[in-house]
Amino acid sequence: MKIVIMGCGRVGAQLGGLLDADGHDVTILDVDAYSFRRLSSTFGGTALLGNGVDEAALKRAGIEEADVFVALTQGDNRNVMAAQIAKHIFNVPRVICRIYDPLRQELYDTLGIEAFSPTTIFAQLVKEKIER
């Protein structure tokens, strides 16, 4: 599959590495070239400097042929905007988006973006660990 990831933070870099190792065609986008240091030395995909809320940058990343788009920057709103551009402008079949704020996550989930909130997931996980 052709996968475009926006945000090369810890999660983005790790996800990119895993998908690349599985043989997917991965392009990872970040506004800060320094963030690409997080990619492992074996990463065989493309690291591209650019802003995921910018149509031109998304096109350069190959969004038009992408099967999956994942938004993983630190900004909830930036993720949400990029995810919606991917879904509604470029018609990417699968769009996944990280939203820290649980309430916003619920809203965008109902608006058709596959959104997940690390806040909710992690809180649940810790709770289960404690109560086990």
Binding site: M81, H88, R104, L107
Partner: protein, 220 residues
Amino acid sequence: MYIIVVGGGRVGYYLARALLDEGHEVLILEKNARFCEIINEEIGSVCVHGDGCEAATLTDVGTGRADMLVAVTGDDEDNLVACQVAKYKFNVPRTIARIRNPQNEAIFKKLGVDVTVSTTNIILEAIEKEVPTHPLTHLLTLSDKGLEIVEVRIPPTSTAIGKLVKELSLPKGSRLALIIPRDRKPRMPTPSTVLHEGDQIIALTTPELEGALRAALAGT
């Protein structure tokens, strides 16, 4: 009307003041506590400290009964999300977003924002309206042939208005190729074609004759 303004920067501040003067109920949401204090000192308690993109904050300020939400922060993404949360979670009938990147206009409309205001576009339009654009524009230069194709728009002050093409004192070596009237179809000029104000003329000339051509078509 109850109007919520997201973003208490200069735009938000002056907008709120104007809306208050018109008798509306106005509330500003601003993330920066210091900005909030200043606004509340200057125009009364209208500013609440909080993130206008957060549903919890919007619930607190009674967004459900708002008639309009105007998002004027300096970030396009934030303005988009504030409008979408207001529209889809609180059913606010009208949302307005300020945008910085003119390209976002179409995207925002598609994503449900009712009105977008692009400062960049407004300034551009003002420039085009207020400042008469240069009457002669270069379209194509055939440098090795010493020729160029230019576009000249007939300004309202031109002495060429009302004249026939054959009456113009066109420099020898330049030719009019096409006349595009403002609201009619383009046509090939004949010696008896009459020129009108606002006509757009595509002409062939040499760089040396450019000045004379401009004088013949756009001179006063």
